[in-house]
Structure formats: structure tokens, C-alpha cells
Chain length 571, copies 2
Amino acid sequence: MLRMSTLLLRTLRDDPADAEVASHRLLVRAGFVRRVAAGIYSWLPLGYRTYRKIENVVRQEMDKAGFQEVHFPALLPKEPYEATNRWAEYGPDLFRLQDRKGNDYLLGPTHEEMFTLMVKGEFSSYKDLPLSIYQIQTKYRDEPRPRSGIIRGREFVMKDSYSFDVDDAGLEISYQKHRQAYINTFDRLGLKYNIVSAMSGAMGGSKSEEFLAPCPTGEDTYVLCKKCGYAANVEAMVTKVAPYKGEKVGAIEVLDTPNTPTIDSLVAVFNNKFGAKITASDTLKNVLLMADEKPIAVLVPGDREVDLKRLAANLAGVKDLRLFEDADFAKNPKLVKGYVGPQDAKALGLRLYADPRVSEGSVWITGANAKDKHAKNVTCGRDFIIDQYVESAEVRAGDNCPKCESAVIIDRAIEIGHIFQLGRKYAQSLGLTVLDKEGKPVVVTMGSYGIGVSRAVAAIAEQTHDEIGLNWPAEVAPADVHIVATGKEDQPFDVAEQIAKDLEAKGLEVLLDDRREASAGVKFKDAELIGIQKIIIVGKALADGKVEIRDRKSSAKQEVAVTDVVKTLVK
Amino acid sequence: MLRMSTLLLRTLRDDPADAEVASHRLLVRAGFVRRVAAGIYSWLPLGYRTYRKIENVVRQEMDKAGFQEVHFPALLPKEPYEATNRWAEYGPDLFRLQDRKGNDYLLGPTHEEMFTLMVKGEFSSYKDLPLSIYQIQTKYRDEPRPRSGIIRGREFVMKDSYSFDVDDAGLEISYQKHRQAYINTFDRLGLKYNIVSAMSGAMGGSKSEEFLAPCPTGEDTYVLCKKCGYAANVEAMVTKVAPYKGEKVGAIEVLDTPNTPTIDSLVAVFNNKFGAKITASDTLKNVLLMADEKPIAVLVPGDREVDLKRLAANLAGVKDLRLFEDADFAKNPKLVKGYVGPQDAKALGLRLYADPRVSEGSVWITGANAKDKHAKNVTCGRDFIIDQYVESAEVRAGDNCPKCESAVIIDRAIEIGHIFQLGRKYAQSLGLTVLDKEGKPVVVTMGSYGIGVSRAVAAIAEQTHDEIGLNWPAEVAPADVHIVATGKEDQPFDVAEQIAKDLEAKGLEVLLDDRREASAGVKFKDAELIGIQKIIIVGKALADGKVEIRDRKSSAKQEVAVTDVVKTLVK
């Protein structure tokens, strides 16, 4: 039994100065966590109980799915991370240290390398696969801006799983098993979430989804169709464009457009000087970039910006991507800043990438590749040929859902899980092969799957709290029942004690507020702040042989005879 | 259900080259752990199951004792450890690192500072105490010689508790509660252990005991009385000497003893030249040391060495202790190397420390403080006065038990737990005070208590293994029953599967060897190596509707009807 009289707990009435988000504010105020350093937190008894319940749910669901639990150190030698180049790639995000002999170590940010090497050490045949193994373990990332309390910390607990298969079909099955195990886990934890298509990005894999818990203060932005449920990371949002059905237009006309290096100035000149009625979306923006030091143009409608993060995520094979600088224009004198058009791409030495909206047959006003001149009737497929379509334009609320064509919204969320078809990158780098049926070595294909276990405490708090405090789903609350004894006499305390014992005998966990000196008001406020679902008040109603049972979520109250309390709560 | 056909496990027939002790050898061979770097290990599925069972027993016993679980980060800022001077004192044993901003951090080797600060942050009154809090957490020490597998690693898991009390009487009660909780824990884990008096030593506390698990390859040496059960760390062993009842002797006589700078040569000269019948124990050895750069002599009977570790542990207040060097003799010309005696201590500027055997009234042959001269009839209390008695002579098997005076033995063991009355050192350094009844601030007194949780896996393996493999107590075995199906037909596999399901339905954990390709011999050897207590063989006896149940510990075998298996194992 937990007793408020002896519990290591002091609730705070005021918000901590450094807390930006509700979960951080309330977890500190309710005495669940304490800050040790930037992005580094300690758990007090109530917080650790909730943390452990979440950890147990995660473990049970992984075990149920048939995944095997292992455990790696957090302190790891450099060599495996050098073999995959991540020792360098991680940059300053990696905590690095040396031991007394001067050997290099790191604090593991994620364990792909170690899992790959473990399987390589034990297994050697296709018969040993498929295999899915996991750990629940402390991870370290030296975040440039640790924030939001335990949501983005520098020391945190992750459940990371890895699957190992002989072929792509096997990987897909392992991936789906993890996907289902994640659904089961988050459902049990009482989290609302969307499964969001994500880019495989820098990890070099082929398929990836994120589990995002919607929350107004979340760090992640994603696209959601409220009608059909389509959800995607902004990077992974697919642009669906109806085939172009415009009128046929005449040949390109070049017009004098002095001092119109921007879309706004171009539109103004067309409408004011030429009496046209165009908007920015009738113009074509040609954004010049250097891709691995070769000039490329990315074409988007004039009313949209290029989203460099989206572009980079979708532009496979390009390592270094940056906007054109003055020096680049100087080196490429045919490219006239502010007046570039795609119609002379070959002559200009430009490779053309385009947003899907720049579709076959679409007609544009764009630069004429000469100072103070623009061209109209420039038609895609006739006057210029796209080398490669790439999702690169900014995504906006109101854009078409690629599934049902309704208007999507842009929503915020906390990432609580990520599932990922890694493919053969790590197995290749570290030499993980097995012999196939013919006795030939094949490189194993892998998946990696993560749940932020400590972060889930905050995500649940964000989604379930209200103005007066935390409000835990029963499965993860620090206890099942919070009993408050009030008054100056012994009787309510004695009755509360007996009810607590009776409930414990039935397997319920009880937090008993047996403090003699605290006022009833303080105790009620603490109970609301801590957020256990069932609150029993043992006080005034005792004169009628009754106690009050409050429901934290609905605020519903009922008076129940002392003799009926156990019956009422144990159903 | 665990299945050998899919388990991440490859047992090894050969001992790993780097394994010195049985637990290391067998835990690697049975696929429980794998080495990642010096003193850094990963847990494979079977090993992690056993580890987690031990962790759970420890947690349950701590909770039962009313201690509250909290959890600290492993990555800690430097400042608290500077306040207590441990940032410097730990020296190269501490893993140190810097974050991206250049701030200093350490990987926690133990958390006294953090616990002290946590309580300081929450509590302020004597009414809040006593308090005992604990964590089960990963610790880091950069051991100069990591060895014996997980027994002395650089990353390991400890349960560390800390108690907080207003006064010494409270500390004693908290200490005894921990002592009992440790007894309950180790008893449940099936460990044999002795509770051994230990020195508080460098930690600056007042009382300390170690839980030592006897084991021939253990790193710790301790004294044990098999008759009365007295047990002590060698440093803490108490020398009990009967009051000296020797004859009165005449005045000091100085004798010519050329070339006798050693005890051996002195005894030879006395017996051969003077016709005496003495042994080394009749002579007095005066060992000169510099204690904080002041010369001292430590007096022990001539047949014993000074044990510098014992001396240092018992010599409170001395920071720097070292043996005399030639340079020291040169600076103190009155001290004649090989011929020092205590009778002129004042004139020689020597402070005299002595082993309790150099008791009041005892008579000795010793140096005469002149080259080639010794003195006899030198009587303690008459001819020289001991400034301070100190436990300093080497301890030997056969020495008297201080309780019952039987001969003690010297035994080896693994330290599995340590309980410690810290006192006020940390609270003082970090300013942890509470207001007492009169409203005056008092410094809190603390205890610290540790159990090596990951080490316990190895300690249990050391104490329970036999020639053929591991041999787990039921409470910590990776499963309750190991079922081996043999043969080429489907039937034994089907029966084994059914038995496994029936046992699981009764709540037993089953490891099923369902491998079709492995021979019966390989399977039996694996079962013996893994060390689960109940092994069911489903094979030949099936012709009579029977299976064989083997007991791993006793090797007892019995044939049981398939229909009776569940009844036989679930009792």
C-alpha cells in the first residue's frame, strides 16, 4: 500500500518555470519526475510506477507476438558503428567517451549494429530465420535542444526490435507482425494515434510508418484526411493530380517583363500591364539547386515553395543538396537569376525535377532565360521534358487527400512508435549472411521497430490530462484507487485503512492519503493532480455509514455504504 | 513457450578462451551472455530471463520491506560529485564525458549524491523521516582489470538503496530492516552466503557488513569460524589476545648480533650462538612507515607480516601511508635499518602502533637501535609504551576466532551485497538537513545498501553448477520444465507439444526442444548445460505410453505415464 504520509512526494501548486507543455508541467507538479540536467530526468515513486506499467504492457505485447527479449549494454565500442559509418554520420548527437586505456566508446543511440552482430554470431542458415528480437533499454542522444521534459530527453528508454529475414516477402510478414503488435500495445495504453506513412529517408530502407499520438503541442507535423483516415508524414504525403485537360495553346511567346525577378512582381506585371487575370498558380517557379555539385531545377507552381526537407527525403541517391548561391550563378552564366525557364534545360545543362502538379500538358508562364523577359504558353511535355518527378512542393492544409480527394488537415503529434523496413544496409556493412537452400550465402534483410517507452508516459499525460491535473487510463495509473481520509477524528482514518486493506486483498493497488495534518482541500487537490481514476472520500458521509466515490474522468460522484465499497469497485 | 527451434541460442561445446571461472565459461557456452567489449556483456534470451527473475525477486523483497522504488539517470552532471569530492577521488575508475556544449558528465558508479539531493529537494521535516528508497539501475565503473565475465564488469546492474534518518538510533533500525530484506532476498535466490563484518573504510561511515557468497574462485577473501559462524572481512577481523601472564623478566640486555637484519637471521643466531630455543614469534618486528610524511613504527610478532591493506583500513585519519624507503632512513639517521627497537621511541621520534598481540606485559627480542645489536627482555608497558593499537598483522587460517576462540579458516567468496551505515558525510557535503521537533535544522544520517543484480546471475551459477553444466534453483531458472522430444517420427513431437501446452495451462514455463534435426544426444547435452531442474524426455518410453522425467540436480529418473505428467510436475 502506498501511503501519502510516507511517500517520497511533494506536489507543487505552481508550474515549473522551464515547462512548456502540459505533460512536463503536470508530471513535475504531481511529483512524477524531477530534472537532473538538460534532457535528463529522475523518476520519483509515483512516476516510476506508471513508467513500469507501460514498460510491462510493451513487454507483454512483444512476448505475445513471439519476439524474444535480449539486452545490450548502453556503453558500446566504436568499431561496429564505424563499420556502418554511423560513428561519423551521427555527428554531435552521439555521446562519445574514452575508457582508461584511451579506447573509443559511445552511448548507444540505437542498436542496429549490435543486433546485426549478435545474429551474425549465433545464426548461419536460412532455417534459423525469421527471427524477431527486442530489448527495452536506455538510450542516449545528445539532442541540440532537449525540451518538453521527458518527451525529448537525452537519456530515455526505448523498446527497440529488429527482424531478420531471408527475403523481402519475409520482411513484409515480420513488418506486419510488428505493426499489429504496436497497435495492440498502444490500444492497451489508451493512446489515440494515427499510423502515418513515413519516408525511409537517411536509413536507406524501403518502407516506414510512424505511430503519431495527436497532441496540439506535439513536435511532429503530419497530414491527415479526416474523411478516409489517410495519414502521412509531410515528407511522405503523396500529391495526386488529375490529368491535365487544358485547351491547346499556341507557341511560346516571349514578353518584356522588366524588373520581375519574383513571382509577385511577375503576376502584377501580367495583370496590370497586359490586362491578364492570372494568379501565382499560373506561373512556374524554377528553383535552382546544386545536387552533389551538379545544377538541377525543381519546378513547382508559383504559389508554392519548395520544401527542402521533403525534397531531400524524396530525392534518392543525392548526398549533398543546397540552394544556388551567387557563386553558382557566376559559374553558370546562362542561368539568369529570376528569369530561368525549363524550356532550354538541355542547353542550360539543367536536370529537371518537378512536383507532380507540373503535369504532362500543363501550361505555364515562366522565365525566358533572358534578363527582364518571361515566356507564356510554355507547355510541359511539348516545350520541356521532366527528367524526374519528385515530391518537393510544400504541403498545405486543404490539399487533396491522395486516397479520397477530400481536403486534408495538417495536425501535430508526438511520435510514439516507428516501424521500418531497413533492408540489407546493416547486414551488408557488417557481413550478416546466411546460407540459403542451395547452400549459397545471402545477405539477410532487416526491419527495425521502436517504441518510446519513457516518452509514452508523457504522451499519455498529454492526451488525457485536463485543467486540474493528470488523468491516467486505468492500465497505467500509479494505483487503482486513491483513498482520501479527512477530518480530525480517528474514525475516518480507521475506516479508510480498512477499505484499503479490503481492496488490496482483492488485488487492487491503493494509494491511501492518511496524512493527519493536511486539510481536506489539499488532499482533494492532490488527488485530482495525481489523476488516479477512482477516488474514495472517507469523511462527512461516514455519519450515514457511507463514503463518496468520485470518478476522476467524468467527475461523477456517488455515495456508497462502507460495506459496499469493495463490491462497487471490484467488478 | 520457448522453442529450441526458434530460440536465439547456439550452445557451445568448447570453453571460451577468455573464461577463467566456471560461471563465465558456462554462461557463455549455454548461450546466456556474450562479450561485447572488456567487462561489457549482452544478454541472450535465456540469460535475460534468468536475470529478470533475479531482478524481480530483489524488487519484491524491497517492496515488501516498505522501501520505495525510484529511478535515476546513469548519465549525471559533474557538480554533485564535485561537492562530495568523489569526482576527484574516483580517479580513472570513473567514466567521464562531455556533452556537445562541453559540460562535464559522468556515468554513475553509485548514486549517493543523487539520492541525497532528491530527498533534499522534496523533504524538510523530521516528520518526513525515516525514508528508505531504492533503484535497480545500470552502473558504470572503468575497472582496471575487468574479469570473470559478468562478476566484475564495467557496465552492470545494481540495486542500490539509501536510508534517511534523523538520528543514529533511526539509522540502526533502517540498517537492520535492510539487513533482513537482504537475508530474505538471498534466501529466495537460493544463494549460500555469510554476513561478514566489514570495514567502513574510505566511505567514512561507522558500520558495515558484506554478504559474501562462498565460492572457490571468488575475489574476496574473508575469515570464517566454522564453529560459531563468526565471519569477517580480513580487514575487519578482530584479534583477541589473552592477557599476558608471562614470568617477570630482568632488565633489558643488549647482545652482539652481527649480520642479523632479518628475523630469520636473528632467530638463527640466538639458537645457534646463544644456545637459546626461540622462534620468530618470540621476536618483535618493527615495521617503519611514513604516515602522512611522519615516521611511525608498526609492531607485530616476528612471525607475521604487516598487512598494509588491513593497516590502512584500520588507521583512521591517515591519508597517505607508505613503507620507509632508503631516503627516509637517510633523513632519520637514528633509525638503524634492521636493528630498530621500540624502547627508544621518544628519542627516535617514532609514534608506536601495535598489533594487539604485542600486549601489555609481553616480552620480546628486538633491535637495540644500533648496528649489529639486539636487545632481550624488552617488555611492553615497561620498556616501551604503545601509542595506539591497530589491527595490522596478517590474518592466517588457524587464528583464534574472537568470539569462540576456535581456529578460523580463510575462505574465498563473491560479494553479492553490502550494507553500510554511511552517517552524515553526504548529507553534510550536500546540505541535507531537516527541521527537528524544536524547529532546529539537523543533518540527516544515511545508510547505503547494494545488491549486485547482474552479478547474482554469475554467483548463483558459480555455487550451483556441476561438471556438466548450469543447474539453476527453480526460482531463477529460465523456465520450469525442459521438454526434449526425440526420434524421427511425428508422434514424440506431437506428444511433447501437448505436454508443453498442458503444463503452460497450469502456469509452468516450458522450454520445448522441438528440433527435428538435432540428435537425442545433442539435445540431452544441451538440456544438462542449460540447467533447468525438470527435464522431460519424450521418446522410446512412449511405446509404453510413458515419458521419462529427469531431475537435473539429483540425476534421478522416473518413468511416468503421459497422462500423469502434469499431475507429477504440478504439486
